[in-house]
């Protein structure tokens, strides 16, 4: 871990301005991913701006009947909130499926969205990785490389990493919107759909955030009802990243929404696939994963996604 200076921020706009001003600065909140990466020198900030004192740790109701979640609300608090449990149960289910109790106690809402991939080639600084070290190649796409956990769709020749979040997959089916403050003090709203970027030729650019821009809130639109579920498939029963996860909202008439985790560089949703829900799992997955380019090792994820959805539809 490189040496860094440290300050506590007390105002969101000022924090954003400071982050833009200081070269190599980063925000820190829960720290559960950032510190992991700093120890390995995958992240090498020279200045940390601690945003825990910004007071963005409450959940309030919006005028249109939704919820506005402060970026510092921990995963535990968010998953346990009575309104979330009642009106957005897919979110509670997704959060509870991720990480461990003690990690969820520390991890924040904004930080969860900004989690970086768990690709093992990203995690070993001696390996080529276009995301960590642009231009070095993709370690996972060489002959003999290990790619079982990695992405099957939305990936590129430059990178096949997945986004590891469970929470974000649920937020994607809930059409969450991210609120930020920019270094110039402007606020803006970014639909989650547009927040995570596909890798293309620039897998190091992961989100729509501008330098210094700070997530302040995540807003959930008014509840959409329906039967909500989250099914995470993994090798061991807990404390593991998803092979495939499915967030599903299904209405009584058979329509609904679906997003996948564990398959793509972002929570994976296509509205045209949502439209296939009345037609069953196979039709949905055919649309949702059309154009997939898996490796031999992870092609099973396509079948797994279909079978997982089939199990969920049977119950819905």
């Amino acid at each position: 871990m490189r040496q860094f200076s440290y300050e506590k921020a007390s105002d969101p706009g000022a924090a954003a301005a400071r982050a833009a001003e200081v070269q190599g600065a980063k925000f820190i909140a829960g720290g559960t991913n950032l510190l992991d990466l700093m120890k390995l020198e995958i992240e090498t900030p020279v200045h940390l701006i601690d945003v825990n004192g910004l007071g963005l740790d409450t959940i309030s109701e919006t005028e249109d009947g939704g919820l506005r979640i402060g970026t510092l609300v921990t995963n535990t608090v968010l998953s346990a909130d009575a309104r979330i449990r009642r009106d957005y149960p897919v979110l509670t289910r997704a959060i509870a499926a991720g990480a461990s109790g003690q990690l969820r106690n520390k991890a924040t809402t904004g930080g969860n969205l900004l989690q970086r991939t768990r690709c093992p080639y990203f995690y070993d600084t001696a390996m080529p990785c276009n995301k960590r070290a642009p231009g070095t190649g993709c370690g996972a796409l060489t002959e003999g490389a290990f790619s079982r956990q990695l992405g099957v769709i939305g990936t590129s020749e430059a990178c096949i990493a997945t986004h590891p979040s469970d929470m974000a997959v649920a937020m994607r089916v809930l059409d969450a919107v991210i609120e930020t403050v920019t270094p110039t003090g402007m606020t803006r709203q970014i639909p989650l759909e547009e927040f995570h970027q596909l890798p293309g030729d620039t897998p190091d650019q992961e989100t729509a955030l501008l330098p210094g821009e700070l997530i302040t809130h995540v807003t959930l639109p008014a509840p959409v009802g329906g039967r909500q579920s989250y099914h995470k498939v993994r090798d061991r029963a807990s404390y593991a990243f998803a092979l495939v996860s499915v967030a599903l909202i299904r209405q009584a008439d058979g329509t609904g929404r679906i997003a996948l985790g564990g398959v793509a560089p972002k929570p994976w949703r296509r509205t045209e696939a949502d439209a296939e829900l009345p037609n069953g799992a196979r039709a949905v997955i055919a649309r949702l994963l059309d154009g997939a380019t898996p490796t031999e090792e992870n092609a099973f994820k396509i079948t797994l996604a279909e079978r997982t959805l089939a199990a969920m539809l049977k119950e819905a």
Partner: protein, 724 residues
């Protein structure tokens, strides 16, 4: 003490303490955080500096240059020792990968430098500033399947008797399958860690997390080229080993060289992401097993051929280890091969040989039972042998495998009529049950101890280690029993090279050997006391010495004895082993193929159980490791790069709480008078043997899908599960 004949009636046959449940005497220290592990020894020496290791980032080749200028200039850095600064260090006992020194790189993450700094943060930061140039070695072939094809049939068989070809030709049923087990990593919770003080180049003292004090002391002497007598090692608490800490490893060598270079004590722990490739592991195996059976279920032929990998001169993983001894067969051909590959060193991990071998053999047994339409429990019973099958003149000292199967089946509620695969269901879950046999050799090692009455306590000193195995407790029980004292009267001191050399902890020989050594020392103490007091065969009971009119308190004396147990040649007339049967029920999700174990039962035959609490913990712990081996553990090899990719605890998935269901353990009430004076054998590795195969067999029973390549992950069966 020579163990020259089978144990007759001994004081343990009427024991009040040995064999009884007793909680760990080291428990209160461990649950309060007061038990000091190697990296935590602030109490032992002042002025400790921090060492942080750097690992090579090529699979094999040469370090051509190292630039340490930037790292040396970094804040707090006191010195750096690079592999180019040091002549290639000699190899320690049974190790084949060089731990440090010279330009050659034999495997990924081999240690090539250590940075010594005032703080941990400074040392870690500076290590990443070292620039290293390499010349990568010639491309290597990491294809173990191809190696099997190449080696199959070559060399003299390790075991060959009878007309194997005729047996397979004339059999009523034949099976012939390939099996794969992956590389497995010990991943004990406490990282490899050492504090070494070699400040003045004279005496070297090491506080090391290590299973084998005397081996490691010897290896350290060899490696550093110094006299063993100049080395002292302490290892009173070890945070798990599983065979990974049998050896001298890089943390100790780097701490020693760093200490010498900087003239101060240095502490080094291997970072978790470096452990998998830097240290040893269980090799992957490719196995072919052919079985031939008569219509009555008796085996006509066993053919087992295995290949694993290793560095030149290494041992790999002999998955055939159990095969010549476990089941009766009219004919047998067994051959083990090792293919040389430039990968991290392969060496012992819990039940080396048997663990990987039974993962395959016990599936094969299930397949043959099915081919014969026999209950797999019955099939194993039919093929029991009371003699060494490959040397019928050698009887088993005590073998109750059939009882394990029968008692286990009854307790588990085994359905001998075997519901057809895929016929039981609980909601979305396909339910199946499986059985496997367990076999692990019962080894012993010479083991010594000092027993003394000092300051009102019975003090036991031995360099034996407690790696979670319960050594402190069972040695106290043995000593208390032998001396007629209570547990509270005994002070057990372990893991110090100043104490008599013991067996150490490994190969499931630790408990039996070290308790025998303590028994020997206590018996010598009794003789010494009798001689000092001029008594003829006094009794030792309730804390008193009793002989005729003499009745005096034992703990008032000051007296000591040092003695070892030595194992007589008569034992070689017998085959000695431990046995078990594992029963497992699993659920396989009919949609996703996820497998979850629903309940597990083990029935074990391991001679006298010295302490049912700690023995049971050893067995359930083995069963947990077996769940990981069956369902998730795999060292993912990048065959283009020759390194294990998933080198942390997020990538290498060991079983967690949620994976482990209700577990039941039954110990047969057996005694083996040929095994040791206590009629005991080890149990620490038996619990793992066969577990994974029992799970595989249960999965087959649940789904009708036979998986033969571990781990048994859902991707391997998804296309065979019924459409949904």
């Amino acid at each position: 003490m020579q163990f020259n004949e089978p144990a007759g009636e001994t004081l343990f046959d009427n024991a009040k303490i040995v064999g009884k449940a007793h909680t760990r005497i080291d428990g209160p220290l461990k649950v309060t955080g007061q038990a000091p592990y190697a990296y935590e020894r602030y109490d032992v020496v002042e002025g400790q500096l921090y060492g942080y290791p750097l690992g090579a980032t090529i699979s094999h080749g040469t370090v051509t240059a190292m630039d340490t200028a930037a790292a040396l200039a970094a804040p707090g850095v006191r010195t750096i020792v690079t592999t180019l600064d040091v002549e290639p260090l000699a190899l320690g006992m049974l190790n084949v990968a060089r731990l440090f020194g010279g330009a050659d790189v034999m495997h990924y993450h081999q240690a090539i430098a250590v940075v010594i700094a005032e703080t941990f943060e400074q040392a870690r930061a500076a290590a990443s500033l070292i620039e290293v140039s390499y010349e990568q070695g010639d491309p290597a072939d990491y294809d173990l399947d191809a190696a099997f094809e190449r080696l199959q049939g070559s060399g003299e068989p390790d075991t060959l008797y009878g007309d194997v070809d005729a047996a397979f030709r004339d059999a009523a049923a034949v099976t012939d399958q390939m099996y794969h087990t992956p590389g497995e990593s010990h991943q004990m919770m406490e990282p490899f860690a050492s504090i070494v003080d070699w400040s003045d180049g004279g005496q070297l003292t090491g506080w090391i997390s290590n299973q084998m004090i005397n081996w490691t002391r010897g290896s350290l002497a060899t490696t550093l080229g110094i006299d063993k007598e100049r080395i002292r090692i302490e290892s009173p608490y070890v945070g798990g080993g599983f065979g990974g800490k049998l050896w001298l490893r890089a943390d100790t060598v780097l701490a020693a060289l760093g200490s010498r270079a900087v003239g101060a004590p240095v502490k080094v722990a291997l970072p978790r992401p470096m452990m998998m490739n830097n240290t040893t592991h269980r090799s992957a195996t490719v196995q072919r097993i052919r079985l031939a059976a008569n219509a009555d279920g008796t085996l006509k032929g066993i053919w087992h051929e295995n290949v694993s990998y290793g560095l030149p001169g290494g041992r790999g993983e002999n998955a055939t280890a159990q095969t010549p001894y476990f089941y009766a067969s009219e004919t047998m051909r067994v051959k083990n091969h090792m293919a040389e590959m430039p990968l991290p060193e392969t060496a012992d991990m819990r039940a080396p040989g048997e663990a990987a071998g039974l993962m395959a053999l016990e599936i094969a047994m299930d397949e043959m039972a099915e081919a014969l339409e026999m209950d797999p429990v019955r099939f194993r019973i039919v093929n029991d042998s009371q003699v060494n099958p490959s040397n019928p003149d050698q009887p088993y000292s005590d073998r109750n495998f059939v009882q394990c199967l029968e008692r286990g089946a009854e307790a588990f509620g085994w359905d001998a009529s075997r519901p057809a695969p895929g016929s039981r269901r609980d909601g979305d879950w396909l339910i199946g049950q499986g059985v496997a046999g367990a076999f692990r050799g019962a080894l012993v090692q010479p083991s010594g101890a000092r027993a003394a009455i000092e300051n009102g306590k019975l003090v036991i000193e031995t360099d034996m280690t407690d790696i979670g195995t319960g050594s402190y407790t069972i040695l106290a029980q043995t000593a208390a029993e032998t001396m007629g004292l209570g547990m509270e009267d005994v002070d057990v001191r372990l893991g110090n090279s100043a104490y008599p050399v013991s067996s150490g902890s490994g190969g499931q020989f630790g408990a039996v050997s070290s308790t025998s050594g303590v028994y020997a020392a206590c018996m010598a103490l009794r003789e010494r006391i009798a001689s000092d007091l001029g008594l003829d065969a006094p009794a030792f009971a309730r804390g008193r010495i009793l002989a005729g009119d003499v009745d005096r308190p034992l703990l008032d004396m000051t007296v000591e004895a040092v003695e070892s147990i030595e194992w007589g040649d008569f034992m070689k007339q017998y085959q000695k082993a431990t046995f078990g049967a594992h029963f497992v029920e699993v659920g396989v999700n009919a949609y996703t193929g996820e497998t979850r174990v629903r309940r597990m039962l083990a029935c074990c035959d391991a001679g006298r159980i010295l302490n049912p609490v700690t023995a049971r913990s050893q067995v359930i712990g083995g069963m947990v490791m077996g769940v990981g081996a069956a369902l998730s553990e795999e060292m993912a090899l990048d065959t283009g790069r020759g390194m294990f990719v998933n080198h942390d605890l997020a990538g290498y998935e060991v079983a967690v709480h949620a994976d482990i269901p209700e577990q039941e353990v039954i110990f047969l009430d057996t005694l083996d008078p040929i095994a040791s004076p206590l009629k005991a054998k080890g149990v620490g590795e038996l619990g793992l043997c066969g577990v994974a195969a029992a799970i595989a067999n249960a999965m087959y029973n649940a789904t009708g899908i036979r998986l033969r390549s571990y781990p048994l992950t859902l991707d391997k069966m998804l296309d065979q599960l019924s459409d949904v």
